[in-house]
Amino acid sequence: MGTRVFGEPVKRREDARLLTGRGRYLDDLGRDALAAAFVRSPHAHARIVDVDVSGALDVDGLVAVYTWEDLPGRVGEPLPLLIPHPALTHGRTGYPLARDVVRHVGEPVVMVVARDRYLAEDAAERIRVEYEPLPAVVGIENAERAEYLVHDDVPGNVGAVLVQETGDAAAAIDAAPHRLEFRLSIERSASTPLEGRGVYARWDADDGSLRVYSSTQASTSVRAAIAARLGLPNGKVEVVAPDVGGGFGVKIVHPWPEEVLVPWAARLLNREIKWTEDRREHFVAAAHERGQLQDVRVGFDDAGRVLGLDVRILHDHGAYTPYGIIIPIVTSTQLLGPYKIGAYRAEVVSLYTNTLIVTPYRGAGRPQGVFCMERTMDRIARHLGLDRADVRAANFIQPDEFPYDQGLTFQDGRPLIYDSGDYPELLRKVRALIGWDGFEAEREAAARRGRRIGIGVGVYVEGTGVGPYEGGHVEIDTAGRVHVSTGLTSQGQGHETVFAQIAAAELGVPIRDVHVTTGDTRRFGYAVGTFASRAAVMSGNAIALACRKVREKALRIAGEALEADPRDLEITDGSVHVRGDRSASVPLRTVAVLSNPLRYAFDDETAAATQFAVGRPATEPPVAEGDEPGLEGRGYYSPVRSTFAAGAHAAIVETDPDTAEIAILRYAVVHDCGKLVNPMVVEGQIHGGVAQGVGGALYERMVYDESGQLLNASFMDFLMPYATEVPRIETDHLETPSPLNPLGIKGAGEAGVIPVSAVIASAVEDAEGLRVEAMPLSPDALYELRERASGDPGLRVRETARAGGDGAATGGQFAAGVSGALPPSERGR
């Protein structure tokens, strides 16, 4: 590798564009397009009795109104179930527009097309839909009780029952010296990207083709879905993901109803149509995640080693299952984390409710699994009076035990085999970073000042880079520009930078010459999508493989030009030369000219290339058999199975003895994603992930009332943390390369979010000496916990933990909130 860019903290090349308002997001496109708006169900469960559109007809600028009856053939069929699974015996999906019954608030019922969005909303407001309300099923307990059904033909509201097991967990638990049994709860949250969904379609009647822009994480699959629904060949549908303002999982679902309806109407009307989801729609019509109840039984020995673990996971998947049961599959497998569990059984019961669909959100079931496992580790440690970190260490898979087969089936349908890792070292590093061993002195010093602090830790393993494949295409043009494309999409992760780093390193070209395109089916037609922390692993390796092909071809052609053995050549700063000797060289732009026997002299490069008289013998065809004109190459990377990243997080929190407010004083992350392509980008991913994790731990939940109304469908009441709520994040890295891929890398996109709830729960429990079994934890919830614990000593985990507790004059984080008291510099936040 000539140019040292791989592994360097190269600044994100997309930032100049994105941070100065020059990004082009979905709503920046199609300025003159008609606008679509949707009449959505105000009921969680109801029968549609009548739709009266007459009131809308006199709205000036109205173009069209559609209900389900208007949708022809495949356009009106139920949306596809993307990922079937044998355990998903009762999978159900919705219609693009509701047919007869609505099953959650926000389900689309009528589509309106008008001259602009204002008028479309005016018209939508005048459409009268008559509903006959049906009983709504809200909450996991009600779903399980099944007094009412979400789907008449799904008994017990049970979509799937999935069992994963190794050994006889029940027997192992019964035979263990110590046993514990408890229930854990995690609330719903959501991806909530700052840009919602959006679709913009234009039909070319002359060409019989469709161009669709979608704010999606999977443009190639959106294309295939639209082509199938509209009866078009793939080649007549182009789907482009423009700049996308965050996805975090929610935009991997496809096709959304709007992704079918907008292109369909655009073709029907032969007009450009755009739909831009607004915030209120996003809360009730996109997707949520996380909500689970977990019943845990664990048996362990005197050292805290787990001998048997049995978890029953009740998973709320909402009204439909378009994305299958990936989330609980991930929960039930990734729950094991870095540990060797004697015998394990997980039973997932995936339940329908009359709430919004549940599909992957960054972490995709892992935060729940890690919460379960790490809460269990803490319970074991408290029960035995052992150090919480030591109990984890006692259960770790050791570095010499890789590859380690957990004996389960992972989300990709492949065996759950960890490829590499060093969990003891992760824990050692995070203990050092947070100051675990000196914390008791810190706690006592704080207590003397009336402050109550606690420390927590969490370790996790994340399967990343799931298959089946991604591809990359690399072309060097006659100006020496390197065009890299891959089919998966970008939502701001820094792909333009890291893919360019990989290409620059592989080809030996300056990074400024590399141009990256993602998520555009015009450039690359085969792709899976951006999810499961897979972009760097999958497309990164595919691009590297494509680059290696191009490099080989470049060396071959240059070898002919330089009359040298290609094996003696290398590429430096975009020029091919004999290794160690740059006196004779040929630039890649010239090699690109030479690669094409058709040499119309359009430019200086072509003229310059004539000095390299590479001619083939007159008896041979100008393009040799098996060769192709042009300096380009295509590569695919398809792994046998996922690669497993890991990390350890630790936090110190402070709780206010009086107000029950919770503040994160320090947050430490040690992360291992194999070889780092760009440590700055990885840290950025971790920071963003931790921020979302803090949301899940302390702020975010979806508050449905008993009738299925979402009470906090706005950023005023859905409490995504601000910068002021996110602590400074201290990071350290460990690099255990993956043996599974050429670059030795593992995924990093979701890492930050995964253990945060577990870590904060651990730390608050430690500060308070009170058992934490549910997240998120608000001041109100902590106050209630204190009140309950005052009457129930069983909730106490450690008597000595309590400190402070009376008087207004605590000198802590929170008293500083009294603005009269302190100058701004001393004020906490």
């Binding site: 407001e125 029950a660 906090n712």
Partner: protein, 287 residues
């Protein structure tokens, strides 16, 4: 989230604005728009007319005198928050303003607009109420001064009549030997508070508690002012005052906090705010 149709009026003077309001009695006044525009976008409000006073330069005023601070209807939160003169006359105003949402909102939102919106969870109504301030209202029929105690009539309801424009608010100056404090607990920095307290403590010449009042936000349908001098006693028994407050209030639960927690929290904040205000009063008395 696009507003329904409305007519936009852009007066240049107060008289023009009052004329427009007289002609369109269902009109809403648009100043900073930080509450009104979201309500329009979510179609929770659909006024046929908006009288946009952003071009009425004569309302963009902050006057600080010995008597107090008079804030014109177009003065932004940020201007008042940063006013050294206003802080010298009545420091409570700036202290509370730092808790109003976020800087970008304070750059646009107006003090008088927040009062006229009369959100019981907002900071400024509680401040105006605890200070015994006033709102100056004008209409085509004339002008009147409305005491805070009469101005806030319910959640999002004020004593402003149709056709009336709140042109200014007056925050009285702090008397001698007086300290103030503002504290609140919000779920996130800048959110509406779960509970908040604006406290004013005045010491007598013997440095005993002469007056102690607290204005509350977030726990009642309108800003609540309690006289705590008796409960606290001459020596400032703040826990006793907090206990008294917990008995007197009846907060509502919502999705962010239970009534029980709010009651508890309000006591804690009362104690802290009174102690801080009293400490400041003592410093000032000794200066």
């Amino acid at each position: 989230m696009k507003p329904p149709p409305f007519r936009h009026h852009a007066p240049r003077t107060v008289d023009e604005a009052l004329g427009m309001l007289a002609d369109a009695p269902r009109a809403k006044v648009l100043a900073g728009g930080q509450s009104l525009i979201p309500l329009l976008n979510m179609r929770l409000a659909a006024p046929p007319d908006l009288v946009d006073i952003n071009g009425v330069a004569e309302l963009d005023t902050v006057h600080c005198g010995d008597e107090g601070v008079r804030v014109g209807a177009l003065a932004r939160h940020a201007r008042v928050e940063r006013s050294v003169e206003a802080a010298a006359v009545q420091p409570l105003l700036g202290r509370a303003l730092r808790h109003v949402a976020h800087p970008v909102i304070r750059n646009r939102g107006t003090v008088v607009g927040s009062l006229a919106h009369a959100d019981p969870a907002a900071e400024l109504p509680a401040v105006l109420a605890v200070l015994g301030g006033t709102v100056e209202a004008a209409s085509a029929r004339g002008r009147r001064t409305i005491p805070a105690a009469d101005f806030f009539t319910g959640p999002l309801e004020s004593a402003l009549a149709p056709g009336e424009l709140a042109v200014a608010a007056f925050f009285p100056a702090a008397p001698p030997r007086t300290g103030t404090a503002f504290t609140e607990t919000a779920r996130r920095h800048g959110d509406y508070a779960l509970s908040g307290v604006a406290a004013v403590v005045t010491l007598d010449e013997d440095l005993r508690v002469g007056a102690a009042r607290a204005g509350y936000l977030g726990i009642a349908p309108a800003p609540l002012v309690l006289d705590l001098a008796e409960a606290a006693g001459p020596h400032g028994d703040w826990p006793a005052a907090a206990a008294y407050v917990r008995e007197r209030i009846d907060p509502e639960p919502d999705i962010h906090a239970s009534a029980r927690y709010r009651r508890h929290l309000t006591g804690v904040l009362t104690e802290r705010a009174l102690a801080t205000a009293a400490a400041e009063a003592l410093r000032r008395a000794r200066d």
